[in-house]
Amino acid sequence: MKLTKHAHRTRWLLACALVAGASVAVALPAAATVVRGSDSTVSTGRPTASSQNLEDTYRTYLASIQDEKHAGTASYATKRVKLIPAFARKYGLRCSACHTAWPELNSFGQQFRDNGYQLRNERDSPIAQNNAYIPITVRVTPQFHVERATKQLVDATPGDAKSGQAERTLTSHGFDLSGMDLWTAGTLWKNVSFVALLSSDNFASFHFEAVNLRFDNMGDNPWLNLKVGKFELDNMISEKRFLFLSDNGGSYATYHFSAPGSSVDFGIGDNQLGAELSGHSLNSFTRYSAAILSSNDGDPGSNNFSSYDANLNFSQAFDAGKMGIERLGVYAYIGQRPTSFQTADGADVPGTGSNRKTFYRAGFAGDFFLHKLEFLPYYLHGNDNAFLASSTPSNSPLLDGARDASWNGGFLETHYHLNPQIVFTQRVEAIRMSQQAFPDMPSTLGNIDAYSFGTRWYPFMFSRAGLAVHGEYSLVKTVSPGQLPSEGSTVNIWTSSLLFALDFDF
């Protein structure tokens, strides 16, 4: 099929709009609060047969930038992270027993989690606890932060919408609050565990970040555990338990990246809905998990029911003597998304998606210790089927030249644990498109480079609550579509965050 000139232009506009949306979601977290789903999923929109005018999509995107939803006025909307002083209180262990530097788990914490938040000392069941004990924890982070973003589209003359558009660097700063985690987790009975995590944005609008029930050590076998509900994927490097909080550094771009123009709404860092079978050796040095998940990126009540994804993880740790414990893992996520729906009055009927096409993410992760120095390398290869990558319903022919989109992403994160109460962190991250959905799209469109560094100081360390004095700087470069006629096809947008926070959990 020969493409018309108009088709080429609209296709390009759609790609620009969608990559811009994805890029802004990653690089400008303020905008991300608008486009992300309930668990901060980067959402580029589900494939629609054709309902939306593509040029309108692009204009909407441009308007979103002009609508003050930029980093300069960003509110703090970090990925919420997990630690549970409620467990420390239950078992009388210091935070440091389970965390290298909270919320990151150490090998003992990993075993504790793998056992269903049980120490297996015959005191795990609630009946072994004082009646007054309720496993609830609250985490909020008062903070001061500075946000800066280059090449933001604004009116050339402030207040005059007809004055044309200009690009400016916007900076803002001030005191702020994070969202809040309200988390309860523990055991209902011996070997029956639960998690209910309500997370809010900084306006206290809550959603279900995680709710699940887990049957642990089935048949008294640690290799058999079954979890059902909404949960974090068994990522070896957990984004929910990492040590960065700022708008730009507070999430792994690799975990939430969408290829330019792709309709896939999946992020491997997003909590998903489904069932997971997992197992581990007694010391959790060997671990596996296999999950079947609804194809809705963990969004309860969304349209994409009646379709399923699969996630597989395996990791092996080694005792490296004085160096510490070294772990290496591999993973694969194979998903599918419908490309067309039944409609009623033109609107999609939920759960009727069909003409599914596949995408996958696969790679490896590591957690290596050299004494007090910890390295966390991560690699991801992503691929979206051509229909998904070009947002084409599979009952329609592909546009000329449309092909799979693929990319490589990864990061190297480093922690230096000076002692159990001070940790220094840094992370360098990059995403490179290896194949765009259309040959005439700029090859670098969507690429991301990010760098973060910081420190956390835990002034006290005991088994009732936690406080971290947190400092962090993050810088992100995103290759976005050119926004003004004077620009080329792409433009580099730089965003940065400077954050000082009091991160407390009780």
């Binding site: 000392n121 015959e122 596949t358 159990p420 005991f462 088994s463």
Partner: protein, 293 residues
Amino acid sequence: MSRVAREIASIAVLSALVALAAADARAQSIHGLPTEGRGSDTKVNTRVGRPSVGKQEYTRYCAGCHGDRGDGMGENTQWIDPKPRDFTQAVFKCRSTPSGTLPTDQDIINTMRRGIVYSNMPQWRPLPDQMQADLLSYIKTFSPRWKTEKAGTPVAIPAETPVTTESILAGRAMFQKFECWKCHGTEGRGDGPSASGLTDSKDQPIHPYDFTTGTRFKCGTTNADLYRIFMTGMDGTPMASFADNIKGDQGWDLVHYLRTLQPVRTPEATLWKTWLATHAGELKPIGPETGGR
């Protein structure tokens, strides 16, 4: 699903099945007993500890209960029952050495890995061997005994005798004769007439072990672990050593009887249940003024 996806899924499923099969093979070694602790004592830690490194790890993992000074007075101690070990006394429950002597390094490492059931002492099995050795070397700085005394010689454990009805009956008679029931109760429930008044060496209340709910022992899981407890006692607790009273195979008789009290499927329990079905009336109740069978 694409071909690549199917292949990845197949490999993963096969890997899981192999792992599960391996786990199941291990699980069959001690039928009916929980997996915790199995084999935990078989791995010998030969690494040389570094007290200076161990100090930081002790602060991270241990001090909350055992205290910064190792005196068992951490911030959690007030809430913990039983109380944490006081390392300044260098008195340890779980040993392979005779009562009153210091344990071997491996004994303490084993306790770290195994944890202690019905207490707040978790299983520190995931900690690297070197870290365990570092922790051990630091723990030994709390008491001067480690400088002036050597660890005792581990008690010898003879080969286990066959599990027979006669052995179980003999063990039951010993349970009566040595008045184990006074603390552990006539049915092994930890509710004997002396149970409520027991205290440890620091005058803290202490509870006898309840065999009818416990699937693991304080100091291990195997029959040999149980035999060892008779011979070494649990220093710092009212559980004395019976090394002077129990000779050779007698210890196995007691082991076999105690195994019948546990809520798990053991060869002893199976045999005992079969015998009881036809001979229960021949048994005299355990307790005061009776002689067992």
